[in-house]
C-alpha cells in the first residue's frame, strides 16, 4: 500500500545563537512522517526533540533545509499561513498542560474553536462532545485548579482535537504525571489516534511509552542516530527489561 506523506524534512537545521556562540539544536535532519502514523522522538535532553516538534508546529522557523507539513512549506510560509497552520493542521499537547487558568475545562476546549471563528452554540456543543470523548463530561465547568494532573491533560487533549487537526504534537505528554496516569493518558491518545485516524508525533524520554509508537526516531546532538520500527523497539525494550 502506498503511504501518504504528511511531514517531510530534508536537511532540516535549527541553530541558536547564545552568547555569540552558534549552537546547532538540529543539524541537517531528514525524515518522513506518514499519515496515520504514531511517531515517537526520543533522546537525551538537548538532543533536539522539542526543537523538531516546535518546527513542525510552526512555533519556530528552520535555519536551513526544507520542512513541509500537509503540503505547506513552513520555511517559506508567511505569518498568516503559520497562524492557519497552528490553528487547523496541528494540535499541541504540552508537558505542563498549558490550560488557561481562568477558563473552565469546556471554555479551554472552546478556545481553538473561538480562534477559528466557530459560532458559539456549535463551539459549546463540540467542546462538550470532546470532553465526553476523553471521559470528562462531568468536569466541563471546573477550572484547571480543580482538576487532577490526568484530568488536566485530558482537557488539553480535547483542546488539541477541537479543530480536527490531522496532526497531534505531544511534548512529553505524560512527563508531569505518575506512571499509572501516564499510561492511561497514552491509552486514551492511542485510542483516539485509531478511531480518528490521526497522526501523532510524541516527544518522550520514556522508552516504554515510546515502544507503543509505530516508529521511534532516536536523536542525539541534533542528529538522527537511529530509526526503529515498532517490532524492533519492542524487542529492545523486552531485552532491556531484565537489566533493570
Amino acid at each position: 500500500m502506498d503511504r501518504d506523506v504528511l511531514v517531510k524534512a530534508c536537511g532540516l537545521s535549527r541553530r541558536y545563537t547564545a552568547g555569540g556562540v552558534v549552537v546547532p539544536a538540529l543539524d541537517g535532519v531528514d525524515f518522513t512522517v506518514f499519515r496515520g502514523e504514531f511517531l515517537a522522538l526520543v533522546g537525551p535532553s538537548g538532543s533536539g526533540k522539542s526543537t523538531m516538534l516546535n518546527l513542525i508546529g510552526a512555533l519556530d522557523r528552520p535555519s536551513q533545509g526544507k520542512l513541509s507539513v500537509d503540503g505547506l512549506s513552513l520555511g517559506e510560509a508567511t505569518e498568516p499561513q503559520w497562524v492557519r497552520h497552528r490553528r487547523e493542521r496541528v494540535g499541541f499537547i504540552f508537558q505542563s498542560f498549558n490550560l488557561l487558568p481562568t477558563l473552565s475545562a469546556a471554555e479551554n476546549v472552546e478556545t481553538p474553536l473561538t480562534l477559528a471563528e466557530v459560532a458559539r452554540p456549535e463551539r459549546r456543543r463540540r467542546a462538550l462532545e470532546l470532553l465526553a470523548s476523553v471521559g470528562l463530561a462531568h468536569r466541563a465547568l471546573h477550572r484547571p485548579t480543580e482538576l487532577s494532573g490526568g484530568e488536566k491533560q485530558r482537557v488539553a487533549i480535547a483542546r488539541a482535537l477541537a479543530n480536527r487537526p490531522p496532526l497531534l504534537l505531544a511534548d512529553e505528554p505524560t512527563g508531569n504525571l505518575d506512571s499509572k496516569t501516564g499510561a492511561l493518558i497514552l491509552d486514551l491518545l492511542c485510542g483516539l489516534l485509531r478511531s480518528q485516524q490521526l497522526t501523532m508525533i510524541m516527544v518522550t524520554h520514556d522508552l516504554q511509552l515510546a515502544a507503543r509508537a509505530d516508529r521511534i526516531i532516536h536523536l542525539q546532538d541534533g542528529r538522527i542516530r537511529l530509526v526503529e520500527s515498532r517490532a524492533a523497539a519492542q524487542a529492545s525494550t523486552v531485552a532491556a527489561e531484565p537489566e533493570i
Binding site: G57, E79, R86, E88, N98, T102, T111, T114, L115, R159
Partner: protein
C-alpha cells in the same frame, strides 16, 4: 477570532483584576470630570447669554436712517441721506414676515419733561418702557414687560408709563388696572420757562423701574417740533428709527439684508449674540483642552497597567498563539481591554461630573435667589454631544494608551512566551 469574541474575552479578562482596573481608570475619571465640568459650564454660560439676548427679542430689529444716528441734536444737524417716511413704514408693513413696524421719535436727553397726575408731577425721560433691540441700560435683566395694559402704542394720543413713574405719581399697584385709558398731562418746559402740555391716555404700564415714559410717535414728533420750534419735521427728518417685529426669528434674519439693501441701518440682537457665542466657543475649546491634558496624563496609567498585564499573561499569550491566535487577535484583545478601562473611567467621570454640576447648579441658584439676581436655569449644562464626545474620547484615550503594550503582546515570540514562568 470574531470581534464579538474579542470584546467578550477582553471584558472577562478585565474582571480578573478589578482593583487594578479601578485604579487605572481613576485618572480617566478625574480627567473626564474636569472636561465635563468645564465644558458644561461653558455651554451653560452660553445658554445664559443666549437666553438674555432672546428675552430682549431676536425677532426684533431696529431700522435707522443711513448716516447720522440723529435725534439727539437739533434738526438740521443730522445729515440723513435717506429718510424713514410714513410711506416706507407702510411699505414695510406689507412685507411678508413683518408683524409690526412702529416708528419712533427720540427726544433729546436735554428736554425737560414732566408727567402730571392729579396733584403730583414727576420728571421723566422719554423713551423707556418699550421693548427694543440693542444694548442699553435696560438690557439686563431683560426687557420691559407689561404689568398693566399693553406696550403697543397707537399712532397718536397714548402714553406708556414705567412702573417707576407710576409709583412716583402715587399710583399704587392695585390701581394700575383702573388708570388705564385715563388722561395724564405731559409737560415740556424750556429753560426760559415756556411750557407746553400734551394730554395723553395711559395705554399701559411697563415693568421698567426707572422714571421713564413712552409716547405715541405722532405726539413725540409734536413735542420735538415744539421744542426745536420747527415745522415739517417729519418731511425733513423722517422718523428717528423704526422698531420692526418679525413673525419669527428666521424672518427677522431674512429681513436684515433686505433692509440693508435699501440703504438703511439695521440693528439686531442676533449680531451681538453671534459675537458673544464665538467668544464662548473659543473659551470652551480652551477649557476642553485643559481636561484633555488631564486625560492624556491618565493614559499613562492605563499604559502602565497594560504593560503589566502583558507581562503577567505572557505565557497565556504563548498558549493562544500555539493554538492559532493571530497577531491581530492578540493586539485587539489588549487594545479593547485598554479601551474598556478608558470607557469605564469616562462613564464614571461623566456621571460624577454631571452630578457635581447639578449640585453646583443648586448652589448657584440658591445664591442668585438670595442676591435677587434674576438668572434662571443651570450654569452647568451637559449636552448629549458633550456626554457622547467625552465618553468616546475617554475610550479613545484608553485605546491609544493600549497601542504599545498590545503591539508588544502581538509580536511576542510564541516559544519564548510559552517558556515564560
Amino acid at each position: 477570532m470574531t470581534f464579538a469574541d474579542q470584546v467578550r474575552t477582553a471584558w472577562s479578562n478585565l474582571g480578573r483584576r478589578k482593583t487594578r482596573v479601578v485604579l487605572a481608570s481613576l485618572g480617566v475619571v478625574v480627567g473626564t470630570v474636569t472636561i465635563v465640568l468645564l465644558v458644561s459650564l461653558a455651554s451653560g454660560v452660553r445658554r445664559q447669554i443666549n437666553r438674555q439676548f432672546e428675552s430682549i427679542g431676536l425677532d426684533r430689529l431696529t431700522v435707522l436712517p443711513p448716516g447720522n444716528w440723529g435725534g439727539f441734536g437739533p434738526p438740521g444737524e443730522a445729515k440723513r441721506s435717506k429718510l424713514i417716511t410714513p410711506t416706507e413704514i407702510t411699505r414695510w408693513k406689507s412685507w411678508p414676515g413683518v408683524a409690526k413696524a412702529t416708528p419712533e421719535v427720540n427726544l433729546p436727553g436735554s428736554v425737560n419733561l414732566e408727567v402730571k397726575w392729579k396733584d403730583r408731577s414727576q420728571s421723566v425721560r422719554m423713551g423707556g418702557g418699550l421693548p427694543r433691540p440693542g444694548p442699553g441700560p435696560g438690557m439686563l435683566p431683560g426687557t420691559p414687560e407689561p404689568v398693566a395694559g399693553t406696550l403697543d402704542l397707537p399712532e397718536q394720543g397714548a402714553i406708556i408709563l414705567s412702573q417707576g413713574t407710576a409709583q412716583a405719581l402715587g399710583i399704587a399697584s392695585n390701581e394700575w388696572a383702573h388708570v388705564l385709558g385715563q388722561s395724564v398731562e405731559t409737560v415740556l418746559r424750556t429753560p426760559r420757562g415756556e411750557t407746553q402740555s400734551f394730554a395723553l391716555h395711559i395705554q399701559g404700564i411697563s415693568s421698567e423701574r426707572s422714571s421713564a415714559v413712552q409716547a405715541s410717535p405722532t405726539d413725540c414728533l409734536a413735542m420735538k417740533s415744539w421744542w426745536f420750534n420747527t415745522t415739517n419735521l417729519l418731511q425733513r427728518e423722517g422718523y428717528d428709527s423704526v422698531a420692526i417685529r418679525a413673525t419669527d426669528v428666521t424672518q427677522a434674519r431674512a429681513l436684515i439684508p433686505r433692509l440693508r439693501q435699501e440703504g438703511f441701518q439695521v440693528q439686531s440682537m442676533d449680531m451681538f449674540m453671534e459675537v458673544a457665542n464665538r467668544v464662548v466657543i473659543a473659551i470652551t475649546v480652551m477649557l476642553a483642552l485643559i481636561g484633555g491634558v488631564a486625560l492624556l496624563v491618565a493614559s499613562i496609567g492605563i499604559a502602565n497597567t497594560m504593560v503589566m498585564a502583558v507581562y503577567e499573561r505572557t505565557r497565556e499569550i504563548g498558549i493562544l498563539k500555539a493554538m492559532g491566535a493571530s497577531r491581530t487577535d492578540i493586539r485587539r484583545l489588549f487594545m479593547i481591554e485598554a479601551g474598556f478601562i478608558g470607557l469605564a473611567g469616562g462613564v464614571i467621570g461623566l456621571l460624577l461630573g454631571w452630578g457635581l454640576g447639578l449640585i453646583l447648579n443648586q448652589g448657584i441658584r440658591w445664591y442668585l435667589q438670595h442676591r435677587e439676581l434674576p438668572m434662571r436655569d443651570g450654569f452647568f449644562i451637559v449636552t448629549p454631544l458633550l456626554a457622547l464626545g467625552v465618553t468616546l474620547f475617554a475610550a479613545g484615550i484608553g485605546i491609544v494608551a493600549g497601542l504599545l503594550p498590545a503591539h508588544r503582546a502581538a509580536t511576542l515570540d510564541p516559544l519564548t512566551a510559552l517558556r515564560h514562568e
